[in-house]
Assembly symmetry: none
Homo-oligomer: 233 residues x 2
Amino acid sequence: MTTVNALSEVAALMGDPARASMLSLLMDGRAHTASELALTAGVTAQTASGHLSRMVEANLLAARAQGRNRFYRLASSDVAHAIESLMALAGTRAAPASLHAAWRRDPDLRFCRTCYDHLAGQVGIAVTDALTKAGHIEPKGPRDWTLTEPGELFCQRIGVDVPGARRAGSRHFARQCLDWSERRPHISGALGAAIADTFFSRGWAEKLRRSRTVRLTDSGRRAMGSHFGATLS
Amino acid sequence: MTTVNALSEVAALMGDPARASMLSLLMDGRAHTASELALTAGVTAQTASGHLSRMVEANLLAARAQGRNRFYRLASSDVAHAIESLMALAGTRAAPASLHAAWRRDPDLRFCRTCYDHLAGQVGIAVTDALTKAGHIEPKGPRDWTLTEPGELFCQRIGVDVPGARRAGSRHFARQCLDWSERRPHISGALGAAIADTFFSRGWAEKLRRSRTVRLTDSGRRAMGSHFGATLS
DNA sequence: CTGATGGTTCGGCACCGGCCGAACTATTGG
DNA sequence: CCAATAGTTCGGCCGGTGCCGAACCATCAG
């Protein structure tokens, strides 16, 4: 009963095209201003303002005032995860042919992107697969992983701040997040974020402006081979 | 762009209270009739019918007609996953399956009964699940199974007359029949009947008079364990 | 202080979509 | 063949909500 209402309320919030556009943009994990979000949603500022306050009210978004701007971001990685799950569903919808075309249209996004604050797409999957294959992470429960002792050493070696990730409050440490383009779980949670940080700080990857797309640098490609034993198409 | 629309469309479907109620009920993984879903959603049959066809259209649900009922179930585990993610956002856990009054009224019938000439109820489901899990039968088409080579040997070993079943005229050989109490498919058709015959002729089960209820004998319970690897409540 | 920019609140309009009554089809059982 | 039950389609009503114009705060630059 109550859970039903909660489900419909949350889903209804995501079900409006304008709000869905905003959420999509915010999937890059960054904070965006209200006017920026209004622009991408194709509505006026006052309409966007209404949408945004409703989503903050429902704990989908978090807002932060800075100067005369207000920045909005996803409230938690759980929100990002739910959105990814819905996008995965959209992939199964009717007319697979036309949808395939949509995928082809954005191969870079499928190759590597941010999902909230961790890596997704083929690169995210490749990293996750490599960690699994090497025994660095092991499934624990239906939606989590544990970092094994060799995994801990490996992370230390490539410069992932594991202690920092463990300190990350009540956040899940190593979570499975369903990748909508690859349709398989990649690693998220505090550890997933720490790994992504490593990719960016070591210059293995860089965020493209105004997009969730991430470009893997040449040194990033070499790192994928040497550290993760992965060959990317 | 395309992915945004897809996101909002899927979310909007889940965002209606009536549809959310239906999806919540279907989270038990079983198939439910249209009228049952209408009842729990608190809408009339015609309204429910509209909702259901829209969700089938969007590949959220799968429908199957049987007799004069239409059974609806979640189209895939991905759908269940997405719903659970949304529920997690609201901090509420998915409610456990609600028990139907009919189940409590006749637990024996629910445990084991004949469905025309084959076994149904928990035992029918357990047999079917065991055959599936062991790779003895495999789904073929929307409503049939094929008997694999190991399955053929297994049947021969426990004394199921497979050649006789194959000879059974124009009748379907191995058919999926939706179980009324378990709401999941069990095996019917000529092979299902032959399996039931084996249960009766080997003294594993016996029909109760003036009833569809079937009693599993002690040797039947042992057989369920040894041949089918199933533990029954 | 004044003007400019970013953001929110308010009020009213217009449209979408959920709902039901009524009528119709299909299956089952007697 | 008829009655009962399950389900769908059609048409029209009505409420919720997304939208914008206008007015109203807040911050910053000069």
